[in-house]
Symmetry: C3
Subunit: 656 residues, 3 copies
């Protein structure tokens, strides 16, 4: 199965819930959706209790009618397996399906995602309902594709810390390690006498007296990730069998860390994600300053959103869908402001420019019941068009042609590095995502289009490769990067190659197997509390217009040179006089966390690689796709750039 | 049974614990209490273990003697049922009495209120001990009345999230909804597949994976409220039977939201409440700024205290008691400052002016043991008179005549609106209480006496009716308000009529059944994080001396006009150009949260209603009762007002 | 058994983990340790799983070899009983060993300290493994001494709130109180009807509905403390029996409050403690301001560190060991900065000056596995010498002669006062440690050497005795202080003698049995939220160059004079005009919390006692031992003092 046929330009869609309104509204809604220029409607991801009101008795009549109403207007239907919400009768009959939280409490029925991915009972029901739906609708002409489940990992559900997951964990460990001695060695269990005598002694890594073994955690996270992957694979196999010619996708989340998205994406036709820019900033971006959150409260931050587009485009290296696109206020952040006038159009244009083939708004009509009554839709509760509807109406889709996004710059990203980094942050306010986004944002501010790529994937197409936080290193990965350095300039951030695949450190110190490539050995690392800074200055041989000094915060590390030369050094603090940035042939390492320093070094590397760059003001961004350039103004001010004038919260499109 | 016979002026009382001191102190204490001018002593609310040292064996000797000692001085006795503190032998025999917290943990013996109101076992013991006490003392000549239990809901005990309450909840739901299908429809359970097949599948709404269904919560809160009401009703029936001619009251709490106080007040002779102004501000007023809390640290905030007086006077629309009045430092807030010199007198005078017939100080002598050793009393640990004692001595009670408080302004208040509002705040720093108190405080700053009234009660006596946060609307309530608007001006705040009785939203949008009265439809609402503001300006036709512009924060909403006219509009932000305040005949709606705007609009409405008003400085307040005006200065500064000079923290009384 | 033979000067040692590295590194490490000038190596405290890989099967071969490798270089071995980390097989066979946290959750295997001190099963295994080790190594010539277990109480493990401790608590209570009536009286259980009928009704004081009885808590803390003491005593008896001539010590913690260290120290030869200055400030000093934490981020605060040296020297009134001395970054605080250049040397010199005979660095080589991979050692992961190693190399130990620390000033400290103070702080930001350290720091800033002494110990040797927070008072203690006042000046801080041994207050008010000595009665106490201040001014008869006024914060209290005279009074606030500081013969009481006031009063008392003092700038400190004076500069600035110039972060030594 391949991605859907190419269309000449961006398509729009909507998430709708026919089961939430009387049946007599269905045809009207479909007509209005068609009139708005939509091409598809996603339905049914939470409708299990309606499809199967009691064990084994299916009721398809309502869904037949709902699909027919949509199809009658020539709209396509994206159907969802409804496994994000097992019905009450199933949970009350099999409470062992319920997941367990990190505190050891059973997570109860009454909202959604109340299942443990490892539950064999739930697996059986997941396959059964998937098969039943696929048999019924797999070849329905209006059904263009499928979404599996909904938002894996949302509400911290990728992992269950007891119950079925606890029962399944030992066997997974045995499969990975073979013998318990091998596990003890891999985890370093000799430390604190944590040696196990048998696999069945091993529980999930929670409720320990103090900090748990990071290797224990790393393997538990791998186990949980594999379990999510296997859960979806079972649905995927059934959909492939019974729904030929239809796409299958999944809608991923914002800054979700609960599983390896590369692994879970495998087998899908394309990847989707759910884009809520305001909640992304207010709720998911713990590292953002209050000032930043206030400044971008009504649009979200352009780079955080762009990062996700590039992240999910990179999963399968092809265009993607935004399966849920915010079109008004959300309801789940501490504050849920109205988007600025123009924001919905801006978000849609940005999504296209970063590779979205379809943008599907969430949701058609604001819900009049239950958890989401304060969440917006394209229609208000009273069915009048809301602000987002008007912005969608105004869009000219022909200015958003289909095609590829071509980037000469790659940012490397790896979930195992994320897991091990965030388990032991050492400086509380820095995290894998924060560090990665800092590098990504610097590239965006220099006008670069960026691919986000797994470090073990093909890197041959890039001129500049940036690895902001590649903490976990393997010999194979090191060799792969060594290859890449033959044709590309590579920039590494701090904490590179701190850890081995088992979560230990290299016995010969950092950066272990990457030492030859980097030409340095780690000397010391330093964790700076808020208020503590050190100064980094450029070495004399590198002072061609560079900023003379930058203030580093939160994290610094220094190196002994083993082939590399220092381009910047610390001017004060305990590392005074030691290298802060080094260069070894094509390879640069930045040891200090400083937005100004990162931007300066990346700019120099882009220049050295011959890539054109722009000095974009804050909140102004450029993206390119299919020979078209999208210039975006995310600020409240009118901006003049390169002879153009941009109104507040607006975009313009130009052809190369 | 009716309220106690009117006395010519305010009476004073005290809470005392004879069981905490040797019996040889009792007569001395009674003499000193009499000498201080007190008329009653409240005793025995925590003395169950002494009354019934082992199951079924009662020991009344000590209580006989304690009552006699008080009676010997001509003081009245207020007796309490001791059910706030079930004894150890009862809990260890019947641990199923214990309540369960929101996290699913049993709340253990070792402090107080360790019972689940729904426990049939506890109900039986509650009736038994009440009957035993009433048989013994119900007709004792010195016993003037009863307090049921103590501070229902204190320490978040109105609701138990498991155990006996979980067992009783399904039957309550069945009684309310009839069929599970009706419940599913009312709650909107089709959303997220939460449909139930039978009532016995339904648990309390806690420990869910993510946000729970607000309708589920709303019904659980109603169930808990009904359970509190029924618990008290059983005691009340016994007391009526066995203690004729005595009053029965209950001492309610500060900003307590755990049950519908209107329902629980029914059947009482009058209402009491426990007034701790400093702890009220420091502990219970989460929305207060740090600066405000520091400024009023030694007095509490005048409007917060006044609000409670008016709230509890309004329960049964008659004078009330302050059953516990702070007379020195408390011990349960993070900081427990000494009251300012003069504060005890000021609080007492204020209580009288707002309708208190009796003010009862907590407590006679500071406790020398257990949880409250850091709490003050009228006497110190060493039995010397503490600061509060001296202030009470100095009071001239004849300046505080009995009689009615007559208000022309009503503020509407409804616990169901509170519950549904606070469950989905949408803007984290705004709450039902914060919004309500903002409107109430504006009225106080304009010199108004205010009744706080349930929206379904008689509104015929008011010229101006203010509904700050009437979120839950019913057709009957709408009709009632429509009637009221024939004779009174009504001002509604934001979020009016957002929700139906089942917790859903109106299918035709807000304000649903109130649309004709308001003459508007809700256009959009907006949640503003701290730091985000929008400007509201008065429309030209309304600029007669009004402030030209106000800064709104935290919450704004806008309207489409459907009969009303806009008096103010947004000048910037996403709602720029849209109505912020509208008027439709007698009815005004304020959509923006802004203290200045609220005060300005209310002032205009008071003027239009012909009510005299004053422009009072911050911390200076006026209250009236029985033809006497109490002018209060709650600030540290000397204040000059209307030809009078008020010393810091002081009051004066003038006759009309 | 006595302390180890005196050596002419400070000795150095290191904590090492041979089991963490291949055996072929052991001899190399020992050689390098010897070359660095170390004299001892501490090993094996977490190696139970290696010593006894399965129940009853011991493997000593590796440990024999490890000891031999160390001994071969002439280094001494400090062996540890490995009971801080019971192995997996023991826990899985006897899960009842596991402790329970305050929330009622079992604390699981997977880190360390996963045992309940009260578990009879664990006690048996503790004795068994101790005996096995002692039989094997008790008379090994290289083994100079023993450490019991490791860091009692770390991670809040001194107390288990269920399980074995809950089972043992009633019998302890019975032994203490005799009858349940006596317990009820002691605890004041009549309050809130908490009266018990039998000891077996009594649970640990957690999970109560609201604040628990402080007397209940106090006895539970005593029970837990006794249990720690008994646990160690069992090991101690075995070590005495089987390892004659060797010392036994325990390594205590930073600001650890879980048990009475005086009781647990009894029977040891000397006391040790684990000194981590940066983490002490960042993690353990909750009261420190953000500014202070930033200023001293790379050294820790000199007075906090010195306080611990003096505290632990005072336990047995003899020199002590620093068993673990930070020599680079730690890994367990929110931020873990690199120590400043010079800090390791400075810390080592300070430890000596305050009475350390040996300073043992933690750890030899940074761990390459498990929880502590981000923690430093003397060697890096790659076995190169880290910064701390270089500083240790540079030390000239001959400048640090052995001998006594002689102080004329004592600060009184008592764990029961700490427990009862912190349970009811009344002002959230003040605590026993914060108050005590404020007084201690003032003395250090005046150039004083200080002993920290239990209030019931011999006080005859002191000229000035300071009791910052002696909250718990007994008649015997009062008589003891009365005796001391005959020869010494005594200064008491606020909250002195608030409580009796049962946790109640004196029936005749504070300071109860101390009234005659102090010549005052407590009038009122006041808790001031941040932002609230009152002014204290010196009385006219005491204005000889004293600061005229000081601002008090957080806490003030006032007195009625009963023999004493007031030296300072409150100038504003509710206590205006009342005494803030009083003097009665040799005895002064300070009622207000104000750093400036405390320093000023203490300075006057030192002067009156004829003790020389210095006015040291912030961050500059002086300590004396054996006729040598250590002048320390803990700041980043060059300091000029008394004709000497001190570089940033440095020390100098001068001979008297």
């Amino acid at each position: 199965m391949t991605a859907p046929d190419p269309t000449p330009h961006l398509q729009l869609a909507v998430c709708d819930y026919p089961e939430h309104v009387p049946q007599d509204r269905w045809s009207d809604y479909a007509r209005q959706q068609k009139a708005l220029g939509l091409s598809a409607v996603r339905i049914a991801e939470f409708a299990w209790a309606l499809m199967e009101p009691e064990p084994g008795r299916y009721d398809w009549a309502w869904l037949d009618a709902a699909i027919d109403a949509i199809a009658a207007e020539g709209l396509q239907v994206v159907l969802c397996t409804p496994t994000a919400t097992p019905p009450a009768w199933l949970i009350r009959t099999h409470p062992e399906i319920l997941p367990v939280d990190r505190e050891g409490r059973v997570r109860e029925f009454g909202s959604r995602r109340q299942y443990d991915f490892a539950s064999p009972v739930y697996r059986e029901h997941s396959r059964r309902i998937t098969r039943a739906m696929a048999e019924r609708y797999g070849q329905h002409p209006a059904v263009s594709g499928w979404q599996t489940d909904n938002e894996f990992g949302c509400h911290d559900t990728a992992r269950s810390w007891g119950g079925a997951s606890a029962a399944a964990f030992p066997a997974w460990l045995q499969a990975r390690h073979g013998t318990v001695d091998a596990l003890n060695e891999a985890w370093g269990n000799v430390f604190w006498s944590m040696t196990y005598q048998s696999f069945d002694q091993i529980l999930p890594p929670n409720l320990t007296v103090t900090e748990l073994n990071p290797s224990h955690l790393l393997d538990f996270y791998r186990f949980a990730s594999d379990t999510v992957r296997d859960f979806q694979a079972e649905q995927l196999a059934i959909l492939r069998e019974l729904s030929p010619g239809r796409f299958v996708t999944h809608n991923f989340m914002i800054f979700e860390s609960g599983f390896d998205h590369y692994a879970v994406s495998q087998g899908l036709d394309f990847v989707s994600w759910d884009n809520y820019p305001t909640g992304m900033l207010e709720f998911f971006s713990g590292w953002g300053s209050e000032d930043l959150k206030t400044r971008y409260a009504r649009t979200g931050h352009p780079d955080y959103v762009a990062f996700h587009h590039d992240l999910y485009r990179g999963m399968l290296q092809r265009p993607f869908w935004v399966m849920e696109q915010q079109c008004g206020q959300v309801n789940w952040a501490p504050y849920n402001p109205l988007p600025a006038a123009g924001a919905v159009g801006l978000w849609t244009a940005q999504a296209w420019a970063h590779g979205a083939d379809t943008v599907s708004y969430f949701r058609w009509r604001a819900a009049t019941m239950a958890q989401e009554v304060m969440h917006s839709g394209l229609l208000r509760h009273d069915e009048t068009p809301d602000r987002g509807h008007l912005e969608v109406e105004a869009l000219d889709l022909t200015q958003f042609p289909a095609g590829e996004v071509r980037a000469r710059v790659a940012v490397l990203h790896d979930y195992e590095s994320l897991w091990i980094y965030d388990q032991q942050r050492h400086a509380a306010s820095l995290s894998y995502w924060a560090q990665t986004v800092a590098y990504y944002g610097a590239l965006r501010s220099l006008g670069q289009d960026v691919d986000i790529v797994h470090p073990d994937h093909d890197l041959s197409g890039y001129d500049v490769i940036v690895a902001p936080a590649l903490t976990l290193m393997t010999p194979g990965r090191a060799a792969h990067l060594q290859d890449a350095a033959r044709h590309a300039r590579i920039v590494f951030g701090p904490r590179t190659a701190y850890r081995t695949p088992s979560g230990r450190t290299p016995e010969d110190g950092q950066p272990g197997v990457l030492r030859d490539l980097l030409g340095v050995r780690l000397q010391n690392f330093d964790s700076l509390r808020p208020g503590l800074h050190v100064t980094v200055t450029a070495s004399s041989e590198d002072s061609s217009g560079q900023p003379v000094a930058a203030q580093a915060h939160t994290w610094t590390e220094s190196y002994r040179l083993a082939g590399a030369q220092a381009t910047h050094a610390y001017a004060d603090g305990p590392l005074a006089g030691q290298p802060a940035v080094t260069r070894h042939g094509n390879v640069t390492v930045i040891g200090a966390h400083s937005e100004a320093l990162i931007r300066s070094v990346l700019s120099a590397e882009l220049a050295a690689a011959g890539l054109p760059q722009q000095d974009l003001p804050e909140g102004v961004r450029v993206s390119r796709r299919s020979g078209v350039t999208l210039l975006q103004n995310w600020t409240d001010d009118t901006v003049h750039l390169a002879g153009r004038t941009l109104a507040p919260i607006s975009f313009t499109v130009t052809h190369d």
